[in-house]
């Protein structure tokens, strides 16, 4: 983890839809919080009855705010426990440990125009973008693709904001992504955050429409990717072997036995946890390593990637 640990207190918690819970977190000692910029996320340590989850959530609070951090968490049906814990266990007054905010998805300041495409809860990083753009006068458009019954869920954050369109799966309401991407002026930056299938489709369409790669930015939801078959990992420097269960990540297993491993996003995006792989074949699930790096088979991101070979040897 980069930086020091923060101790936060739940100041307010409310259901904004059957599957979405909004949390307002303040410093437990009543002091000021470190400021975070648009696109930043917060890593929460969620101590459940059987295991500890460390999940990253986008901050939707106003960029620079120091009085409170706000997040919105969707309850995932196939949750490994993190989102269920937030929905079922957390109550006002609880104290949580968190890392300092990190930011892997900041808006590009030199952009002429910002085009944001969100899928459902993927709107969360863009809520902080909107708050930022409202001050800077930037040219932008936000397209939210969601279920019809959720079209008003985010209204409290979108009220009074221009440039926001909402789309859902019905005739006349679907987003024509190819037409949207083709119509953008030079100097536009594209940001996409949503389910993996939507992200992949938008990235593919942008490449086909001739978008320069440096102008296309994507944030993936990481946690759903990390489960799979159980396997074993030997940590060569520490001299210990650990069993990685079906529903825990390699990183979580490493942390469970008390070995220190660096990490930041826990979603395969930032590369902070990249670790030399001494033996074994990795099942790469990150968005960080290049094709060439994967080819060499000598690096792994333990936050999301797993074993294809039954046993891995890490230089950790």
């Amino acid at each position: 983890m980069i930086g020091e640990t923060l101790t936060l207190k739940v100041a307010a918690a409310s259901a904004i839809s059957p599957s979405l819970r909004h949390l307002r977190l303040v410093a437990a000692d009543g002091g000021k919080l470190p400021p975070a910029a648009a696109g930043a996320h917060l890593q929460l340590v969620l101590k459940g009855a059987t295991r500890t989850h460390r999940n990253a959530y986008s901050l939707i609070s106003r960029p620079g705010a120091r009085d409170a951090y706000e997040i919105i968490v969707r309850r995932v049906p196939s949750s490994r426990g993190g989102s269920a814990f937030i929905h079922e266990q957390i109550k006002v007054g609880d104290v949580l440990e968190a890392g300092w905010p990190g930011n892997l998805f900041a808006p590009v300041r030199t952009a002429r125009r910002h085009l944001m495409i969100a899928g459902g809860i993927g709107i969360t990083p863009f809520l902080s973008y909107l708050a930022d753009f409202a001050f800077g006068g930037a040219d932008y458009a936000l397209h939210l693709c969601c279920r019809e019954d959720e079209q008003h869920v985010f209204d409290p954050w979108l009220a009074g904001k221009s440039g926001v369109s909402v789309h859902w799966d019905a005739d006349g309401r679907r987003l024509d992504i190819p037409a949207l991407l083709a119509a953008q002026p030079v100097g536009t930056h594209l940001y996409v955050c949503g389910p993996a299938a939507m992200n992949d489709e938008v990235l593919e369409l942008a490449a086909a429409a001739g978008w320069p790669a440096s102008h296309v930015h994507c944030e993936h939801f990481g946690s759903a990717l990390s489960g799979g078959e159980a396997f074993r990992a030997f940590l060569a420097k520490s001299g210990v072997e650990v069993s990685v269960g079906e529903d825990e990540s390699l990183l979580e297993a490493i942390e469970r036995i008390g070995v220190k491993a660096p990490c930041l996003c826990r979603g395969g995006a930032c590369g902070v946890c990249v670790t030399p792989l001494l033996d074994g074949e990795a099942d790469h699930r990150d968005h960080y390593l290049s094709a060439a790096e994967r080819e060499t088979g000598r690096l792994i991101l333990p936050c999301v990637s797993r074993a294809r070979s039954g046993r891995l040897v890490l230089d950790l």
């Binding site: 002026p185 030079v186 536009t188 102008h215």
Partner: protein, 193 residues
């Protein structure tokens, strides 16, 4: 002189259409076109001809159909054309430029100002090696330098023309050559004819 150990020294490639682009704009400095070369460019860009515009700049530009052709008297008109186009270019567009280095970088800078990214701009050096030189002492730009040591148009110091290149200025660095021993100026060579 197009290759150097100095990392900032740009390298250039042959022009060919980037097929992932949507609209293609080819800008050619007319007097850098060798006989027959425009024919060969026309062949290279034939696959994108339907979405191709060609701007021929200067007097000697030959008349060949490379998509829609527009003639411009000089590079300043290219810069003006970009500066006046507020919404005219798309994120999928590609720009290809052929000419001397001052021409290439004048066009590239004007395009960058309206939002073109480096990945959308392809540069091909042709014609003279003459350089635009920026004086590190008085910050004056001296145009059309062909010699290894040149007199600064601003402060008249003798400047050693280095390979250090600024993409922002589109110019090479010039530093006073006789600062240590005033008056001792090495032999001047015609290096960038």
């Amino acid at each position: 002189m197009l290759h150097s150990d100095i990392k900032s020294r740009p390298t250039y490639t042959q022009l060919e259409p980037d097929l992932s682009g949507s609209q293609h704009l080819l800008i050619v400095e007319g007097d850098t076109v060798l006989p027959g070369r425009l024919d060969s460019l026309a062949g290279t860009f034939a696959p994108v001809e339907e979405n191709l515009h060609t701007w021929l700049v200067g007097t000697q530009a030959g008349g060949l159909g490379l998509g829609k052709v527009w003639r411009l008297p000089e590079v300043a008109d290219v810069v003006d054309a970009f500066a006046c186009a507020t919404r005219g270019y798309g994120i999928g567009d590609r720009l290809y430029v052929q000419g001397t280095e001052p021409f290439l970088w004048s066009v590239a800078k004007a395009a960058a100002i309206i939002g073109f990214s480096a990945e959308q701009i392809h540069l091909h050096h042709a014609g003279s090696l003459r350089r635009r030189v920026w004086c590190t002492h008085c910050h004056t730009v001296t145009e059309n330098v062909t010699t290894s040591i040149a007199s600064c148009a601003g402060c008249h110091r003798h400047l050693l023309v280095r390979d250090h290149f600024s993409r922002r200025l589109g110019a090479f660095m010039g530093v006073m050559v006789d600062a240590e021993a005033p008056g001792e100026v090495p032999a001047v060579e015609e290096s960038f004819a």
